[in-house]
Point group: C2
Chain length 264, copies 2
Amino acid sequence: MTLANFNTSSPIAEKERPDKSNARGIVVSLKKSGFVKCRECSVRPFCIASKTNDKGMQAFNEISNHPAPTQKGDYFYHQGDTFTSLYRVRSGAVKSYHIDKNGQEHIIGFHLPGELFGTDGMANGQHQNFAQALDTSTVCEMNYEQLGSLLKKSPDLQQKMFQILSAECIQKIEPLLFLHHRPVEERLVTFIADISSRYQSRGLSPKRFILPMSRRDIAHHLGTTEETISRLFSRIQRMGILLVEKRTIIIKDMEKLQASSMAL
Amino acid sequence: MTLANFNTSSPIAEKERPDKSNARGIVVSLKKSGFVKCRECSVRPFCIASKTNDKGMQAFNEISNHPAPTQKGDYFYHQGDTFTSLYRVRSGAVKSYHIDKNGQEHIIGFHLPGELFGTDGMANGQHQNFAQALDTSTVCEMNYEQLGSLLKKSPDLQQKMFQILSAECIQKIEPLLFLHHRPVEERLVTFIADISSRYQSRGLSPKRFILPMSRRDIAHHLGTTEETISRLFSRIQRMGILLVEKRTIIIKDMEKLQASSMAL
DNA sequence: CGGGGGATTGATAACTTTCAAACTAGGTGG
DNA sequence: CCACCTAGTTTGAAAGTTATCAATCCCCCG
């Protein structure tokens, strides 16, 4: 089987009339296929599985699934899908977005390597958002039901999972709430500073990186328009804080960046 | 003991230099004091304790504490406090707000009777926000450590708690994220519609209620200023959707209200 | 009656969106 | 191989929204 058929639909076309057959079909058909699992995982140091012992890791291994790489534009799940699994990004990048009743797209967040996503389905068993690959991406998929059974057996692990999930939900989302109380320039600076620190915490360069998302995605995430984002990148560059070349960002003055960014 | 000494500090004074001695002092001294507990609780139908059997309720009763009423302006906890408990509002109203490194106040949310608060401390053991009574309020305080022990013993309860908490975290907070992507008038209309439905779900009138919070609180919650809120209330009233008399809201045209409000 | 916080209203300034146009880089087909 | 096409991005000008500063009003309470 070739991967050629992954490319037949553009991200936009996918977005307008989401069709999960390609992305999900692969996920399902490659279950337990023999791809690398927990022990060899590239993001292992950032995974809950690493917070347990060998036996625990073995258990995680059982419920985890490393499906084949997903192509840019493919979906991990759709808004309204039945919630079955939590995911962790191993490589690439994923965006979560919601389409409201007026057809407006709202970007909930971006998931970089090592980060968790899929929690939007935990509340009522249905995913509230779409999760779409921004790039060729690989993930780890953990079955939630099996995860539940696993946690029932280990109170300690359960406690840790509680912690991790509440951190995901609260520490990551609540600060975003009041991002929107500030002018857009500050939001953008904060966004860049946040991406930078997330790359750094994964051992990548905090001063030079490539944004996996479009200007439009950034705009929708920050609650503004792509034109405004573009203008502000220009302005921030003129101020000598960043060097912006399309999606490549080089931070020239990290101190000024952090000083202008919001308290998170 | 009288309650007179509760009134010595105004909400503002409390806010500027928070002093928890009165509110928390009472909480501690009345622990296990004989106030009504789960079985007689007014918000029992909305509490997790009601989702279990008599024995489970007994267990909840053990870890729950119904402290004396808290006066307007008093704090349940402060930003930075060690996290010990989750709370549920029994009567009155509570606001959660965060002060960022620039001294700016951000209102995370308002908690009405039956609603949970305190989850902002779960992530790292420290409260991220202040929780302050907007009015004379009574709460139910559940010790988190004891709750954890309780959950360890009952996988089913654990599952339910997971559910409830993720619903709190995700269903309530994520939608707020994209509220801020819309003009302020829409945010305000949505805010009123939300309060209305929350009162309704607690068996109170959805068409006529009194807002427990000030214009400034609403403004800070919606990411705007009190002047703008005031102007918009006037405009929405001129449109015949609401009748606004200070903090009393009467919804004249519920359909128009919901049509103008955002998809949540 | 006077003080004071909360709320409202007005005028102006600042910011952001909208509509339009042009530019860029990568991919396509002749 | 080049012209063309397209999505993504940038820039400009005008319109719209919101913040800011300032003044006034209102009502509760001492």
